[in-house]
């Protein structure tokens, strides 16, 4: 999923704080959280689909049918969906890291004579990931919200566009069903987040 991409980019952006990567990435993350998904989709279609003609503008093909065409079709929707996630997890990671390096135990790590790389990797990273993981749960929900729009724009027959069309068609049984499915997925994700939180933070253990 695109969340993984988002997080790894976020970490890289965060660790190189206050140097040139920070100066480049941070404004970009602001841009990423303010750009409307649907508008980004249209921009992408306009530039890569219509002007340059590199990628197909819409539709969905099963990867078993035509693998490469399918990949090319999914590039733009994935970028669209993941940009917000990448941007906001990068921002979260950065501020969380900045907070962690102020802590007493980081001072202890410095006092041990460790190098910057060791201090960051061994002592700061795990701690600063904790709040980011909580945010990731939220992000997944945002992606579900976004998928409604992205599927509409790129004419992908998915759950989101099904929901929209059934809402307009006033087919409430389908609306109910789709909502239920999404709620269950979100719940499952929350459980996964909770479990990984417990694995990372020894202070939280479940009976």
């Amino acid at each position: 999923m695109s969340v993984t991409v988002g997080l790894s980019v976020g970490i890289i952006a965060a660790i190189r704080r206050n140097r040139w990567p920070d100066k480049v990435f941070t404004p970009l993350t602001y841009l990423g959280t303010t750009i409307p998904t649907f508008w980004l989709g249209i921009l992408l279609i306009y530039v890569f689909g219509l002007r340059l003609g590199w990628l197909p503008i819409a539709g969905y093909t099963s990867p078993t049918k035509d693998f490469f065409f399918s990949i090319r079709q999914t590039v733009m929707p994935v970028i669209c969906l993941s940009l917000f996630g990448i941007a906001s997890s990068a921002r979260q990671m950065r501020s969380s890291m900045l907070e962690v390096i102020q802590q007493d135990y980081i001072r202890t790590a410095w006092a041990k004579g460790l190098s910057e790389r060791e201090v960051i990797q061994k002592h700061a990273l795990k701690n600063s990931l904790l709040p980011v993981i909580t945010i990731m749960g939220f992000q997944l929900r945002m992606i579900f919200g976004g998928s409604v729009i992205v599927e509409t724009i790129f004419a992908i027959p998915g759950m989101g566009s099904l929901l929209v069309s059934s809402i307009f068609g006033q087919d409430y049984v389908v609306v109910q069903a789709v909502t239920l499915v999404i709620a269950i997925i979100v719940l499952l994700v929350n459980v996964v987040v909770d479990i990984s939180y417990g694995l990372l933070d020894p202070r939280i253990r479940y009976d």
Binding site: P36, W39, V164
Partner: protein, 299 residues
């Protein structure tokens, strides 16, 4: 008396000289370019919305002021849409829709959410469990989907969009307020007030509310940005404003079909949305940094 106040002591105080909140605010808002630009855009958008009838060069609802899908010209700076309506005027009127939905929704959501959060956080026990369980359940659904479904059940129209978005926003406020109340409640001055014999209402209004106001203000500002984004998304999907009303999201959606012929039609409202959201986020960011006590001394 033990502690004689001498003139010399005025020079030597233990408490560091504090930089007043206004000064910090000014420093953050003028010192950081992004925040300053954000604040400027925000003021601009607010003024545009307020004086839309004076600023708009044409009637935004008048069909056929020029030929349909006209390209930008001196008369029509941003061209016209399929019905020949002036895009710039519709853009200006669209700011009203965006801000109106934003402000009204934030107000409704904040009032209800903060009240719920205060009750849950201050009383604890059964009210806490009850309120937080309901909040958690609502939070299982993505905000946009929730608003979409509610709007679908209630039917279109701006009013229902506001209701739907408010409902989707309440859990956020309730959660944040509850968490802050729980931490403020632990302060000795709250306990002291209770032990003096103050009533719960007095304690909440005098001691808790004033001390959670600042972070709430930051949250409200930030959420205005995401609300404008959400409203745009809904109107893009065709929910919300009814024709011939102007909304940015709907304008993007209209222009989308004529992307090759007249790209400006969907680009212009997109830029407007982005700038406005950016402005509110920046101002919120600036407020947060200026008001964060942990950053005191660092800025």
């Amino acid at each position: 008396m033990i502690n004689k106040q001498t003139t010399e002591e005025v020079v030597f105080t233990e408490a560091p000289p504090q930089v007043s909140e206004w000064r910090r605010l000014r420093r953050v808002f003028l010192g950081r370019t992004s925040v300053a630009v954000g604040a400027a855009i925000m003021v601009l958008v607010l003024l545009t919305a307020l004086f839309a009838p004076l600023l708009a060069p044409h009637d935004p609802y008048l069909v056929g002021t020029t030929s349909p899908l006209a390209q930008p010209s001196r008369e029509h700076l941003l061209g016209s849409d399929t019905l020949g309506r002036d895009t710039l005027s519709r853009l200006i009127y669209g700011s009203r829709t965006a801000l109106m939905v934003g402000f009204v929704t934030v107000t409704i959501a904040a009032v209800i959410g903060v009240t719920l959060g205060l009750i849950a956080g201050y009383l604890g026990g059964i009210p806490y469990t009850l309120i937080m369980r309901i909040i958690d359940t609502i939070m299982c659904f993505p905000m946009l989907l929730l608003a979409l479904v509610i709007a679908a059940i209630l039917g279109g129209g701006l009013q229902n969009v506001i209701i739907a978005l408010s409902f989707a926003m309440i859990p956020g406020y309730a959660r944040v307020t509850c968490a802050m109340t729980l931490s403020v409640r632990e302060n000795d001055y709250v306990i002291a007030s209770q032990l003096m014999g103050a009533s719960d209402g007095y304690t909440v209004i005098r001691h808790i509310l004033p001390n959670i106001m600042q972070p709430l203000l930051v949250m409200v500002t930030m959420q205005l940005g995401s609300l404008i984004l959400a409203e745009a998304s809904l109107s893009f999907l065709g929910i919300g404003i009814e024709p011939p009303g102007a909304a940015w999201g709907a304008m993007v959606s209209d222009g989308y079909r004529y992307l090759l012929k007249s790209p400006i039609l969907s680009f212009a409202p997109g830029v407007a949305i982005m700038l406005t959201v950016f402005a509110f986020n920046m101002v919120g960011d600036g407020l947060r940094d200026a008001l964060d006590p942990r950053l005191r001394g660092l800025l």
